[in-house]
Amino acid sequence: MLTTPEKEYLYEIISAVIGNDPSIRQYRHGFNERTVVIVEEMIVASGRCNDGMKQLLTDLMLVGGFATKGWLKKIIKKGRKALKAKELHGYGCLVAVKSRWKNAIITSAI
């Protein structure tokens, strides 16, 4: 279960990675722990699309100690603003890649 502030924070992270998206925003009240897992997978995979994110991921792993799966859940639960929107902007992959993640996020929240 995610609290409302946790859901809002998760949406903030999603929109920081792939941009503000009305269709995902509509489903944010349905976000759950499965959504967190998918968003974590998306962020790790998106390290290939975004140099800034690659660096941030490296920092999270090395400095933040978030080396194992489930690190995003820890961040969300602790309310840590470790992932700042400004650090993640600039999605550098094609719509085909982005769309697949958007669908995975929505289906987790339906």
Binding site: S23, I24, A45, S46, R48, C49, N50, G92, C93, L94, V95, A96, V97, S99, R100, K102, N103, A104, I106, T107, I110
Partner: protein, 170 residues
């Protein structure tokens, strides 16, 4: 613009054959054929295109892709899109931005699909590209006479065999 060609027409054919079928029409060239029985308790939703989450937790998502959606040059040949993004053709003759977009996306897909091989097949009017890994499948369908749009269908928690059958029916 992204939804310019996307409209949903669900045509259910009852009693016309032993297999009742429902069609999701994304454009005149791209229709996804689904067994109507599979739609029982399914959830249909809109993201970038029309998507379905089935009662067995599998899902399918379709998307029409055009040059302008990714800011590609109008000269860019959309038929090369699947070849570049799946790494079956060397990146050449593209602008720096286009090269970067395809290169980044290729790396992401290689990572997500664990470097699985791309399955290619073609008929008289279409070329199909499919890559699957674990519970994920991704496909691109190119209609040879349609140079403006290509179609992408992705699937989650669906068998490669079932996914391939659906894609070949498009």
């Amino acid at each position: 613009m992204k939804n310019l060609y996307i409209f949903l027409v669900i045509t259910t054919i009852f009693g016309c054959s032993s297999n009742n079928l429902t069609y999701l029409s994304y454009s005149p060239d791209f229709k996804v054929e689904i067994s109507t029985n599979d739609l029982i308790s399914a959830k249909i939703y809109s993201s970038d295109g029309v998507s379905i989450k089935f009662s067995d937790n599998s899902s399918l998502s379709g998307l029409l892709i055009t040059n302008d959606m990714d800011g590609l040059s109008s000269k860019f040949n959309m038929h090369d899109y699947p070849k570049y993004i799946l790494g079956v053709k060397e990146l050449e003759g593209l602008s720096k931005k286009e090269t970067e977009l395809f290169s980044n996306s290729l790396e992401e897909i290689k990572y997500t699909y664990h470097n699985q091989p791309v399955y290619r097949t073609s008929g008289s009017s279409a070329e199909i590209y499919i890559i699957c890994s674990d519970n994920l499948c991704l496909s691109f369908i190119v209609k040879l006479e349609n140079r403006e749009q290509i179609f992408m269908l992705s699937g989650t928690n669906i068998s490669q065999q079932k996914f391939t059958t659906i894609v070949k029916g498009i």
